[in-house]
């Protein structure tokens, strides 16, 4: 694009902005909005130059312009070039030897296969991708809090590129890896790989205490949309946040339509290593329970029936119905209870109350709040979408009358649900985080909740007073405006702990979120230790709920006015309940049958029956124990998306959250062909979005990706503005070639990045030298738009550091794992500085494993244009400043590695002469042998260096000096 006219265009646009017209905007870049099509390979005059189709496209244009291409580089230069492009590492001397000695046809192809198969390939391309995802392991802002376990996303990328995960699948996993009906497992395991792809969404900055929490949310959402749209679509969707896009066919509602996908999803730490195992175990557990609990109920009901006769007398007179006087004990225990008022759960207390006149059975009715807004009702099934992470809350609400296992984890039948509720299943209490798993920053406790969290739909707070009807203990997180970084002076109220103590029945507790009236929220209920938890309802109401509640008693019991009446009625109701149990089915919800049946189950031992000893309970216990031995209790967690209920954002007028306009339904931006709004009944709809974008006919997806790969291989994209294919980006230099590559990638090569790379690096264009170039090309094509030559390229910051390690021999090839702490020097300062410095040489690990702490990035990496992770950076700066030379001269790491390298030299070549050693150093550092003049110059320098190391001649200090010189030579970091 002509730079000259841009300022004028912008100025004019700012003065008079024409009305937005989608179709004319699309027409302005019509090629972009049509799916790539199969391209004819253009004929060339000089067919002998190259038969490669990609070369033909390039050659054709060169011929049209009457330009000659530069000659090719030699084998060694080509090897160094291709090694850096594919793995980011220099070739070792052995690799150079092998290639030089391989004189059979196809030697280059064999090198490419070796490099593509190298585990270091994935590291190189993962790092490229991390630039797009503004990858970091902390949240920046004031205190730079860690993003716990963020590195699993980085290792996911390494594995994905190494496995050549098809790019369409890669895209789907990024947007909806948590929603796939069949996730991808790490080979040979049931570890969920797909879900890890969603972690990118939470690698941005988070403010720990935003004053305007909603504005802060808008910034975070904008960043997600920016990263998503630039990375996958090459579109600057964020430019449409305040107004229709100034240049591209993107309307404001398109922007907010994409925002909705993220509003409909929330943050979590996912038990990716255990989730599939636990899911299957959960299904098995439910099956076991479904098979065994009814049998146990039947057996218990039958066993109880004979003993119930005489219960009233036993209770009234204190004589045992069986052989031992258990009822006296029970009554004595009930007498100790201070909880008389809400005695329904224990008929014995009612009996005592009637006897001493302190209470009557007329228990309060199930309390209701005046005019409440019901947010979630778990007392019955199907009232709202079931959103539970992990198996701890089962697969849905447990209705009244259901047969329950023991709450303390004993096997077998342990009770009857006396009210409907979402119940925490004690079977899962053994879930643990693996050692070394990082805890979440702040008070959110996402790692504690992982795999045992229940959430409500998203809703908008009205008054802000929320009431939860629960029993047990829970840690609650109110996700107001999706704010997760809870560690500042503000917003502490978003997390609360509740403990209903010894209450027999569920009680109301209040979570006052009045300050957030008008804000969106969903509520997450998490565990508190191993305590049981039942969640019945979440309502919003100005009124304060009544203090108590009770489970219903059968009318006959409620009507009793004397202890004798009550005891008789109890005997008769117990008999009825036992008959119900003997049917081996869930009990009816009506008439308090479940309340009495539950009492019976829990007091079976008073009838001389050990419920755990029932045959069905015993076999269930055994089966659960067997299952438990197969459950993966311990796992690590990773940052991931969690799908919530569908929420559409409003079009915010001029981007201001205070000015919501019309709702913007979630969907593809309307410029996309067939951009019908895609809306699922339940959930965010990310999977549908992802599938649309990953279609071979999606106009942008393949083009943007092949262009990124081209950019990394050739140093400049066919569309140079790799993150912006829109009107403000630059036009493709070779549109037909771009489409040829995109079509082949998406239609013929199954979205294989490795196949694409193989085809690019084996072109003649890839092997061209920088010069001597055609003089005419320098004049008419100074920016090398026609690729008649390949200018020298500077290595990226990571490749420079990694090269240093390979050259010196310090390189530690280990793959993956927790980040290596940053080496802290005096330039790495500020609030939130890590406590401990990492080693100067980073343990010899590749640079992508160095901790990426937003506020504490390694200065040398920054000096060589390592990106600041704020948003998508598809094309790094390549600056050339004295700071880089200073680093190579004086940075302790460069100096240290020079010495390590010299030590290795003397170890490996103990008896070699200077010439051999100089050659060895050159081959390590530059991939080539020195010429005679260079040997002479180095020899002369060695004599000079010796003078500075008294007491030794050609010792390690001298060789380290020479090594340091080679590391300072341009050729070390500028690759011809």
């Amino acid at each position: 694009m002509a730079a000259v006219s841009m300022a004028w265009t912008l100025g004019a646009a700012a003065e008079t902005r024409p009305a937005f017209d989608l179709e004319s905007r699309k027409q302005a870049q019509a090629w972009l909005w049509r799916a790539p099509e199969r391209q004819e390979i253009p004929p060339v005059r000089d067919a002998a130059w190259s038969g490669n189709p990609i070369d033909r496209f390039l050659r054709r244009r060169q011929e049209e312009a009457g330009l000659a291409a530069a000659p090719a580089v030699d084998d060694r230069a080509w090897l160094r070039r291709v090694s850096f492009v594919l793995t980011g590492l220099p070739p070792t001397r052995d690799e150079i030897r092998a290639f030089v000695d391989d004189t059979a046809p196809g030697a280059r192809e064999r090198v490419v296969e070796r490099l593509l198969a190298s585990p270091h390939f994935g590291e190189r391309w993962a790092r490229h991708w991390m630039d797009l995802m503004r990858y970091a392991e902390t949240r920046g802002h004031e205190s730079d809090y860690p993003i716990a376990n963020a590195w699993h996303y980085r290792d996911y990328l390494v594995r994905a590129f190494n496995a050549d995960l098809p790019y369409d699948r890669f895209l789907v996993e990024h947007l909806a890896g948590d929603l796939l009906p069949r996730p991808r497992f790490r080979p040979g395991t049931d570890i969920d790989e797909s879900v890890l792809g969603t972690g990118w969404a939470f690698l941005g900055e988070e403010n720990h205490s935003p004053v305007d929490i909603r504005q802060d949310e808008c910034e975070r959402l904008d960043n997600k949309v920016d990263v998503l749209s630039k990375s996958f679509l090459g579109l600057t969707l964020s430019c449409a946040r305040c107004h229709d896009h100034k240049f591209d066919p993107i309307r404001t509602d398109d922007y907010y339509g994409v925002v909705g996908y993220f509003l409909s999803s929330s943050f979590r730490q996912v038990r990716f290593e255990a989730s599939e195992n636990n899911r299957l175990a959960g299904i098995e557990l439910a099956t076991l329970r479904r098979e065994h609990l009814p049998q146990a109920a039947r057996q218990l009901g039958e066993a109880l029936q004979p003993g119930i006769h005489g219960l009233a007398e036993a209770l009234l007179r204190g004589t045992p119905p069986g052989t031992t006087n258990r009822w006296a004990e029970r009554l004595a225990a009930a007498a100790q209870s201070t909880n008389r008022a809400h005695a329904a759960a224990d008929p014995l207390r009612v009996l005592l109350g009637l006897r001493d006149g302190t209470a009557s059975p007329s228990v309060p009715a199930t309390p209701t709040l005046p005019g409440p807004r019901i947010v979630a009702d778990f007392t019955r099934e199907g009232l709202q979408p079931w959103k539970a992470d992990g198996e701890a809350f089962g697969s849905g609400p447990v209705p009244v009358g259901s047969l329950l296992p023991w709450a303390d984890g004993r096997g077998g039948l342990g009770g009857i649900a006396t009210h409907g509720a979402a119940r925490r299943d004690p079977f899962w209490n053994r879930l643990r985080n693996a050692a070394g798993n990082e805890d979440d920053s702040g008070r959110l406790g996402a790692t504690g909740r992982a795999g045992r969290m229940l959430r409500t739909p998203t809703f908008t707070l009205e008054g802000g007073r929320l009431h939860y009807r629960i029993r047990g203990r829970t840690k609650v997180y109110a996700a107001v405006d999706s704010h997760i970084m809870l560690d500042g002076p503000l917003h502490g109220v978003l997390t609360r702990s509740y403990d209903t103590g010894t209450a027999d029945a569920p009680v109301w507790v209040t979570h006052d979120l009045t300050p957030y009236s008008g804000h969106r929220v969903h509520i997450e209920f998490g565990p508190d230790g191993d305590a049981p938890l039942e969640i019945l309802e979440v309502v919003e109401s100005e009124a304060t709920p009544p203090a108590g509640s009770a489970d219903p008693l059968p009318p006959a019991l409620a009507k009793a006015r004397t202890a004798a009446e009550f005891a008789k009625a109890l005997e008769s109701e117990a008999s009825k309940a036992a008959r119900w149990l003997a049917l081996g089915a869930p009990l009816p919800a009506e008439e308090g049958v479940a309340t009495v049946a539950d009492w019976l189950v829990r007091n079976a031992d008073a009838f001389g029956i050990d419920p755990a000893g029932l045959p069905a309970s015993r076999s269930l216990t055994a089966a659960e124990a067997a299952l438990a031995s197969r459950v993966r209790w311990e796992s690590r967690t990773a940052v991931a998306l969690y799908d919530g209920t569908g929420v559409d954002e409003f079009v915010l007028v001029r981007g201001k959250p205070s000015k919501p306009g019309a709702p913007a339904p979630r969907g593809l931006p309307s410029a996309f062909p067939d951009a019908d709004r895609i809306r699922p009944a339940d959930g965010s709809g990310r999977l549908e979005l992802a599938r649309r974008l990953a279609s071979p006919d999606s106009p942008l997806t393949a083009r943007v990706m092949v262009n990124r790969v081209w950019h990394h291989v050739f140093g400049r994209g066919l569309v140079p503005t790799v993150d912006n294919f829109g009107a403000l980006g630059e036009a493709p230099t070779h549109p037909e070639l771009l489409d040829h590559l995109a079509y082949r990638f998406s239609h013929e090569d199954a979205w294989s990045v490795k196949r694409l790379l193989r085809s690019l690096v084996l072109t003649r264009a890839f092997s061209l030298a920088a010069g001597p170039a055609d003089p005419k090309a320098l004049e008419t094509d100074p920016s090398n738009a026609l690729w008649t030559r390949r200018p020298v390229r500077r290595l990226e910051a990571e490749a420079i550091r990694d090269s240093l390690l390979v050259v010196s021999g310090r390189f530690n090839p280990a793959l993956g794992g927790p980040p290596v702490p940053v080496y802290l020097d005096e330039f790495v300062v500020g609030r939130g500085r890590p406590d401990k410095s990492g080693p100067l040489d980073g343990d010899g690990r590749r640079s992508l494993y160095t901790a990426v702490r937003r506020n504490f990035l390694p200065p040398t990496q920054l000096a060589f244009d390592g990106p600041t992770p704020f948003s998508t950076v598809g094309r790094r700066n390549v600056t050339n400043v004295p700071a880089q030379a200073l680093a190579r001269m004086n940075d302790p790491f460069f100096r240290q590695q020079s010495r390590v390298w010299a030590e290795r030299l003397l170890r490996d070549l103990p008896r070699a002469d200077r010439r051999e050693r100089i050659a060895w150093l050159f081959e390590c550092a530059f991939g080539r042998l020195p010429n005679d003049a260079e040997v002479a110059e180095c020899t002369e320098a060695l004599d000079e260096f010796n003078a500075f190391h008294p007491g030794e001649t050609d010792g390690v200090g001298t060789w380290a000096d020479l090594g340091h010189v080679l590391l300072n030579a341009n050729e070390f970091i500028y690759i011809p």
Partner: protein
């Protein structure tokens, strides 16, 4: 001569080394060149920086520029553009008082807001300056205040790029890069374009100081005003002779590499940077060592001020003078972290924001002007004070001002501009420039003119076109030339 990059400023008939390398890179006679210069050894003997001084096109009025970048946008109606009408209509609905309003960034339009600061006239020129800048006001007779500046972008990043590079886009050469490209830099030991970082990296990042498609040598080098200026500036070799011996060999190896590449621009810049870096090991500490400055000078710049940011900016201004003394061509100062990340961007709390920012910069700037003058440097140094746009004469919310690209004030001093003058005018509200309205390219053209450069002839061949800082626009503002 039609090389890839063409610099018409090479009026010097002597053969320019850089130009020769370019010819070599064109493939005509690189061998001949090598022999002409006596082979690689000739290159080794004189590793001249790529930015060696070049003569201007005509008599320059200034040799150096000190650009005081007031990032975040200073309010013109609270500083140099006195608008009494605002007081009379204070608190009124601006749509009624002023009339139709342009959209603003935040669209949170409050009432007409008078300046919280009193304006008064200063010097024999009687230039109006508000109480925000009591120290600078004493130099009223040196200031050439332009009240009719405009921008084309209402948001920071684009406007910063526009102010710096003449386009609202990332990746174009900055003014400092253009000037250094045009004139080179007489000091071989320091970069020609230095950005003295007070703490605030502007919106748009380091690209504001980039060289774009110009050779990388011309990009601004960032030096921290506080703490260690630059990583690795302390030599790692204890013995300077050892370092020199190493450098000799590096030089030889690099010369061969450069030759083999046919004179690659990046390699050439890297060579120049290597030499420069070596020299910077001594020049930077020496430059930053201000203990030798007299107590009076230190006080003049506010280095003893109670407000820490005054001390920071005072140090920046003093260092700017020291750089100019050493021939650094273009010095740019970023502002200290006075109000967090807000810079001058007073969307709310104008009094505190502008008050504190002015407190930080006022005395140091006045000190700089006085010091330059007393040393006879002001005549050859152009001091440019500018933000990226202005602010609205009506409030944003209750006590802030929103962005306003329709009018703002910049001022220049020294280097060939008339002092004690005000050029151009805004409407009665200070809302829009109405008289002698200037665009960014006019400002750039004028700055280049003062440096002895014809903005229409300072071009760089890129993408098949000769590209200018001023695009196809820009007129030198003759009226302000001394």
């Amino acid at each position: 001569m039609k090389p890839g990059a063409r610099n018409p400023l090479f009026l010097d008939p002597r053969i320019d080394r850089r130009e020769m390398l370019r010819r070599a890179s064109n493939g005509f006679g690189s061998l001949a060149l090598a022999s002409l210069l006596g082979g690689p050894a000739a290159l080794l003997a004189a590793p001249a920086p790529a930015s060696r001084p070049r003569p201007p096109m005509f008599r320059p009025r200034a040799k150096n520029v000190i650009f005081l970048f007031m990032e975040g946008a200073v309010s013109q109606v609270d500083s140099f553009d006195h608008k009494p009408l605002l007081a009379r209509h204070h608190g009124e609905d601006p749509r009624k008082a002023i009339g139709r309003l342009e959209k603003t960034q935040f669209e949170n339009v409050g009432t007409v807001m008078k300046s919280p600061w009193e304006f008064s006239q200063h010097g024999s020129s009687g230039l109006w300056v508000s109480g925000l800048f009591p120290h600078v006001a004493r130099h009223a007779d040196d200031l050439c205040v332009i009240r009719s500046m405009t921008s084309a972008f209402p948001e920071h990043t684009s406007a910063n790029y526009f102010l710096h590079s003449g386009t609202g886009l990332q990746g174009r050469p900055s003014l400092g890069a253009w000037v250094t490209y045009g004139l080179g830099s007489p000091n071989d030991d320091l970069p020609g374009y230095v950005v003295l970082n007070g703490g605030q990296i502007p919106s748009g990042g380091l690209d504001n100081f980039g060289s774009g498609f110009l050779p990388a040598t011309y990009q601004g080098s960032l030096l921290n005003a506080l703490g260690t200026p630059l990583a690795n500036v302390a030599p790692g070799d204890n013995d300077p002779a050892l370092q020199e011996a190493k450098r000799r060999l590096v030089r030889r190896l690099n010369a061969r590499g450069l030759e083999a590449s046919g004179g690659d621009g990046a390699l050439e810049s890297a060579i120049a940077n290597h030499e420069l870096a070596a020299r910077m090991q001594t020049t930077v500490p020496e430059l930053l060592e201000i203990r030798g400055e007299s107590e009076a000078t230190r006080r003049l710049y506010g280095l003893d001020a109670p407000f820490e940011h005054t001390r920071t900016y005072g140090r920046q201004c003093l260092l700017a003078r020291r750089m100019v003394e050493r021939g650094v061509r273009f010095v740019e100062l970023t502002v200290p972290m006075v109000d967090g990340y807000s810079r001058w961007d007073a969307h709310g709390g104008l009094v505190k924001n502008h008050g504190q920012n002015a407190l930080a910069v006022d005395q140091p700037i006045a000190g700089l002007l006085a010091d330059l003058k007393s040393r006879g440097l002001l005549d050859e140094t152009l001091v440019l004070w500018a933000g990226e746009f202005g602010r609205t004469p009506f409030a944003q919310g209750s006590d802030g001002r929103d962005h306003n690209e329709y009018a703002f004030t910049v001022w220049m001093a020294g280097g060939g501009v008339k002092g004690g003058m005000a050029y151009g005018a805004t409407d009665d509200w200070g809302y829009k420039a109405v008289e002698n309205r200037l665009e960014m390219h006019d400002l750039h053209a004028t700055v280049l003119h003062l440096m002895g450069i014809d903005h229409e002839r300072l071009t760089y061949r890129f993408g098949g076109r000769d590209i200018r800082l001023t695009d196809v626009r820009g007129e030198v503002v003759k009226e302000i030339l001394a």
